[in-house]
Symmetry: C2
Subunit: 444 residues, 2 copies
């Protein structure tokens, strides 16, 4: 007898029970169906990439969290991908001559980050990304279509209403220029932490970066939530007029983009109430250059943005001399699923999956029962047959345990009559039906 090893997984990894998995997969399938309906193409890249690709931009924060592969005999440094954006950049640059541009791709796959283990943070998690990549140029209207896809998906998932918080990096850079702030990347990163660490801490960060009090006050005044979208847009126009003497061209470009994206998002079917112009949204990552988005679930803003992204001027700087501007959004599905479950917005229900369980009462009924379950499956009814020997009670217990809606009981009487006993396992009601009638009932 071999030694028993306690079965367990590594900490920081999500593993679901079957009923939970059904629910997870249902949400994932709705995300994918939305991506497809909007004409995005699937891609699937290796989970292992060369380190020279993954770290083409330099190490940075993520390099500490990387899952490196023990090389063994290979001469190549290898690691698991930490996001789907670097693989997309590599893919687009590598296959550019065989792609149509704008290239619309979706990618739903696991990524790996060896983060410090904490609740709701996973080391392996699904990202669901859509991006539209242009070759050398990409029309601004794409910035409005991308959130429309996400809006349509969350409507399908049915977990309540979402609000896109939108801003524009060009506008923000224009503001920095107008008020003489030169440390724009640092300012973006500091403001990005506002919701997490609060105004005082952000102020301290900005002081450390060398901003003076007047600049910091101007910044906080600028990004403060203040009125509805129209009021904010008016205020921004007012700012442009008030600073007409300063270098305000970039600001005006950004304002024009923000105004147009806001209007086009509505054209793409997103209700005005689901869009909040929010100048405190900056996104932490350096590569965003225009529109930036975060998305919040109404009533559950505390769980943070459930879908984020934006416009970047050049996706594949490190892999190609061709410019590939793009716009993308990403849903962190594993974390979202954890949070929606923890907040009880979603919960797995037994019986949402298998509809019918066929129960032959004895071995003599087996052939007839197999014919019955085959007919159900041919009619598209998700169904199971329980073929183990044992008492009737055990058979019903199985049908109950898998959450089947209905049991089709097949004993000598049913077999002789060419019928089935059709039992609603929720109500306990039972009647004799022909197989055809049972199928009609199941497909009703």
């Amino acid at each position: 007898m071999s030694e028993i090893i306690t079965p367990s997984i590594l900490s920081g990894f999500m593993e679901l029970l079957p009923d939970e998995q059904v629910l997870f997969d249902e949400i994932k399938a709705k995300i994918e169906a939305g991506f497809r309906r909007y004409g995005f193409w699937p891609i699937d890249t290796p989970a292992i990439e060369k380190c020279e690709i993954l770290f083409a931009k330099g190490g940075g924060e993520t390099s500490k969290q990387i899952y490196r592969i023990d090389k063994g005999e290979s001469s190549q440094e290898q690691a698991l991908r930490f996001d789907l954006t670097v693989p997309l950049a590599r893919y687009v640059a590598q296959h550019a001559s065989e792609l149509s541009f704008p290239f619309r791709r979706y990618h739903i796959a696991k990524v790996y980050r060896g983060e410090r283990s904490q609740k709701g943070r996973y080391r392996e998690f699904y990202q669901c990304d859509i991006d539209i990549i242009g070759r050398e140029s990409l029309a601004l209207s794409n910035d409005a279509e991308i959130p429309a896809v996400i809006y349509s998906i969350f409507r399908d998932i049915g977990v309540g209403s979402i609000v896109f918080h939108i801003n524009n990096r060009r506008l923000m850079n224009g503001f920095f220029r107008a008020v003489g702030i030169t440390q724009s990347d640092a300012a973006f990163r500091a403001v990005d932490k506002l919701a997490k660490i609060g105004e005082d801490s952000v102020r301290r960060l900005l002081v450390e970066e060398g901003l003076d009090d007047a600049q910091i006050d101007a910044l906080f005044e600028f990004i403060a939530p203040n009125g509805d979208n129209d009021a904010i847009l008016s205020r921004l126009e007012g700012f442009a007029q008030a600073h007409a003497e300063a270098d305000i061209a970039l600001f005006n470009e950004g304002l024009d983009e923000l105004t147009r994206v806001y209007a086009l998002m509505q054209r793409f079917g997103i209700p005005q109430a689901a869009i909040a112009i929010d100048l405190s949204i900056t996104r932490g990552l350096d590569y965003y250059t225009g529109s930036v988005f975060e998305t919040f679930l109404t009533g559950f803003e505390g769980i943070g943005s459930i879908c984020s992204g934006g416009r970047y001027d050049d996706l594949a700087t490190n892999f190609s001399k061709t410019g590939f501007p793009g716009i993308g959004l990403s849903i962190g599905l594993t974390r979202l699923f954890y949070q929606l479950s923890a907040a009880k917005v979603i919960s797995p229900k037994k019986g949402d999956y298998v509809k019918a369980c066929v129960l032959p009462m004895s071995d003599e009924d087996m052939d007839y029962a197999i014919d019955a379950v085959s007919a159900l499956r041919d009619a598209g009814v998700i169904s199971v047959i329980y073929m183990e020997p044992g008492k009737v009670k055990k058979k019903f217990a199985y049908a109950d345990s898998i959450g089947a809606h209905f049991a089709l009981i097949i004993g000598e009487r049913e077999r002789m009559a060419g019928m089935v006993s059709f039992k609603d396992l929720a109500t306990g009601e039972q009647e004799n039906l022909s197989l055809e009638d049972a199928i009609a009932r199941l497909n009703a």
Copy 2:
């Protein structure tokens, strides 16, 4: 300007272009739909497992091929899974108290083996596994249901007819016992190589294992293809009678199992012509104990078995004292896709994906065009809008390049008339339609 790194992936990994990916995903979706129709539950386990789990059975061949994770600060030895069976064993043992038995699960996911690079062999590949796991016992009829799922799936995929080659390890062990062969595992492994290395080489292996010439001759006579299923079953009954003096009980058990599984497979809807009793099928792996299966695509037998598996007495010996007998089959999808593509059984077709491409002729037409594409998507038509500026020719070239069936052209004339120009991109035919009529045409 940063240095350009040539974008590439590691050798031995499959990466597809979008049209190929659409085809791959279509096959994968059909496999999944079949698994679900038959009432198998999805599971999704971490790609990284503890080495103590992966190597619970001891190292063996696979341990040389393992992708180990550089531990970094972790105290746990970690590696990428090399199959989906060990994770299933761990999952079942770990969560047994929360599962219903027989536990029917499917798992479609990537596994990793650092095999020597060669054509059609991949280091990262999809396995599509179904298994039914009992607790302490599992009825034989499950052995017949599992191939029925696979049969139904290949019918849906539509790549031609398949034939299950079936055998039974108990029968083979009974034969070994009857003729005095004691090296059964070695004999299984040797015979498993027959198609690959030929009879002479297998004979040499068997001699090395200590079988004598009479035993080897008896073995080759026994496993030789010889008549149809009924003829083989008669021959097996004849063998039992001829060896009635020997210890033939195990042989008879195996023969009874094989006979019943053969009959039940037909009951589950597999035509007789799609089942070949084939005593040369043994499967190389030690853990099979009863039914074993390989599956061949008619006319393309040379590509090898496209779906293999069998019955095992105890899935989780190393993780639990409870016995978990099971039956499972596995499709190696990545290799299958490669082989079907190479044999030109399948090929990606442009235009099997996006159905309609909306082409606004100018910025003035954008709003109307966005309304049109939104209506198409709401009606479930996979569609794209091309919003880039440029000449008409460039716009049509895009619609062509993505393989759209139809272009919906929207210029000033169409917009004013509240119509669209509906162009069949294959035939070149073009007509004016209302949007409703265009949708009806697209959904026809």
